[in-house]
Amino acid sequence: MLDHKKVGISDREYGLIKQILKREPNDIELLLYSAMWSEHCGYKHSKRLLKKLPGGSSGENAGFVKIEDNFIVFKVESHNHPSAVEPFQGAATGIGGIIRDIIAMGARPIALADSLWFGPIEDSQSRHIFEGVVRGISSYGNSIGVPTVAGEVHFDESYKTNPLVNVLALGVCKELKSAKAKGVGNSFVLVGSKTGRDGIHGAAFASRELSDDTDSDRPSVQVGDPFSEKELIEATLEIIRLPQVIAVQDLGAAGLLSSTSEMVSKGNLGAVLYLDRVPLREKDMKPEEIILSESQERMMFLVEKGKENEVIEIAKKHLLDASIVGETTADKNYKLIWKDEVVANVPVESLGEAPDFYRKVEKADYVEKLKRLKIPKINKPVSEILKKLFSSPEIASKKWVYRQYDHTVQTNTVILPGEADSAIMWIKNSKKGIGLTIDGNGRYVYLDPFEGSKNVVFEAARNLVATGCKPLGITDCMNFGNPEKDDVFWQFEQSILGISEACNSLKIPVTGGNVSFYNESTSGRAIYPTPVIGMVGVIEDVSKALTMSFKNTADYVYLVGRTSIRERNIGGSLYLKLLENFVGGSIDTVDTEYELKLQNFILKMIDSGVLNSAHDVSDGGLLTSICECCISGNKGIDLFFTENIEELFGEVQSRFVITVKPEFTEIFEAMAKKENIEYLHLGFVRSDFRLFLNDKEIIDFGSIKSLYDSTLNRWMEEEF
């Protein structure tokens, strides 16, 4: 008899299971509940709060927004724990998993984006994880032919030993597929790779530290095979066109179990599965290993009885295994059969009804303490601060990373990585484009979970707006520590509320997402609360897509939006962290009405062709953003502005740096006045690569650019 606590089932939960079954569960049944009631599958700590998000989840594998008659299906998911243990495979299988969510909706994946958070680059272990994760994404994403077009990479002590690997996939289709089972006696056809012992208990592994004997177990990390995934994409998109295919579901966490039980739960049906009909990769697998295996590259199709052959033929054509492994039943039970013997039989909906662990918690103490900390004054020359910022991996070019990702395959990528604040994917046979960005800021959310989370959503929106895209919807990946700790649970609740408020005011839905708890360092310290926002938008005419680079000499440079830092709400600013290792003070907050007005104004200006460039002001503050525009365009600037360090590098919300052709400045200023948008004429674009502030030369951009270009290369390609 298994000890229920060893498989992550509390005494209270064990009691519930006995109530449901009206008897003791057998070992296999206990393992079914252990997997389905794990935090990862059961959302015990988060489900009540997630309901507060606007738009709600469709209950399907991924959410969507619409652009004309196209469904834009997208979702972000974390693969943090696997990537900590085995960076290459952890990241690779993260891609595989999220791609299968997209194809399960019937959509062809056309883009990937990732948000990656590591420990300090100075730390060799963190570099090792960084290297492995990037190689994993590169190896898997490139092979399956889905471009990685956007992303962010961050380095902070907080993520040492617990990196965050969040991957977003986006697909397009004209018709959606559902995971909802229908009809009694229809067949479950399992398509894809053979099932092995890999990844057993992966869901439980993601949900807490495993027991002592995990070391001797096989690793809970799965192994990816991108070649099979590529074939699975093509086979799935072909199979779902068959009229006899009723429902589709990918096999992710808790493998066969979660896919089939969720399919029949949605359809108010039951299921019987014959585990000995599952094609196996290894000998002597036990029934519980088969049902829980998280072997990659598998999909489940529910097919009308008697019409399975066509499905199997398509799978074979794509060199994949396919077999009928079970059928739907009317009795609403989930029954497993192994060698003609019933080895488990439980009410199916109970598997999806993990107990609700919501609880009321008090505001965390640390927040007010940090808020009261005085923002340190920095007395250093501007040039020195710039050098420090541009030689930090936070600000430095991420070309070392994205050069390893195929970002042009599928020939839809209008804006390439590094050119602008978001990627834009062309919708072929139309003029329209899809904007895509992924964004997070652990420091802001740590200092103020509610306002910080709002800021992250608005910044993602600004990323889209700066390229000319109107925001349509978000997917969120909530990366937090152990939710059993009150501070962490409070951070989570506040963050959900902040995201909700921001989305409500932007009038965009949260179409779906993922929660990753238990992100803690080996010493038990939680990571910064890090909600990562993937946002999708639309541009009506892709030829108007705008990049950040300064383009023409003598163009007017403006700061639009909040033109001064005002109340010194610059807590959380990157320059304070990099120069003084200071994380404290009050963060700036968004005035929603103002923000929306500003975003609409920028969109209007881009659409009317008045702007030559636009860049949102974020990490590193105003001067950093200006320098990024100069470096990107190989131009300089004559800047007329205060020399106050807080004003130059402090981070406040709701601002863009833009350039306007000299002949359009009058129109621009008149429009801004009419719409009550603040602006400040900062200066002019210079033909040479130099930075002048109030007629004094501050720095030659050549020196900053070489730091910007070489920092990641130096850390990753040289021996330390």
């Binding site: 074939e231 060199l319 390893q404 990702y405 042009t408 020939t411």
Partner: protein, 230 residues
Amino acid sequence: MNSIRACVIVFPGTNCDRDTHFALSKIMDIPTDFVWHDFDEVLDYDIVVLPGGFSYGDYIRTGVFARFSPVMKSVEKYVLEERGLIIGICNGFQILTEAGLLPGALTRNTSTRFICDTVEINVENFQTPFTRSVTKKNLKLPIAHSDGNYRISEKELEKLKAQNRIVFRYVENPNGSVEDIAGVCSENFRILGMMPHPERAACSVLRNTDGVEIFKSMVDYLRSEKIARS
């Protein structure tokens, strides 16, 4: 005018098939078919494209499995009969060298990393069917590969040079290729293998149309050949 027809060969794991098909059919207006890897009949096309991707996952060695696909027998026949033009792009180039239809081999980039970037290539020979209509000295084209480092024996390299079969050279060598080679031709100039992707630079929406010059050259050549034959 005789109409020109093209096909794009699809191996398991090929992932640039649809891009190439789009460029040929939608941009170049050439009727184009997909041909599956198990096709073993006559390739009745003027242009045969072996597109980019990861045929058979690039497992063991790039192109090594694809080279034994039934369709490659048809390709070999197509070559012997000098039916039309063959262009192998990226993985297609790798398959052509594995099959012995082009000399040399494509090995791991010196950085050992996948490289995705836009590079400039110099056109070294403007007389080939693939470059005769190119209007620029160099073309800007995307690359995306792990194994683009061209290697060839000294003797064969001398032969390539003597016969003017080095078609493209990188302006800045990204992958360690010998003599910056980015693309080479067969002895009869009817087969081209190149690592850069012309199909990814074929459309004004994507802000680069340099790749069109290569496809246009092929069409111009085939048309003039058809006129000469008729």
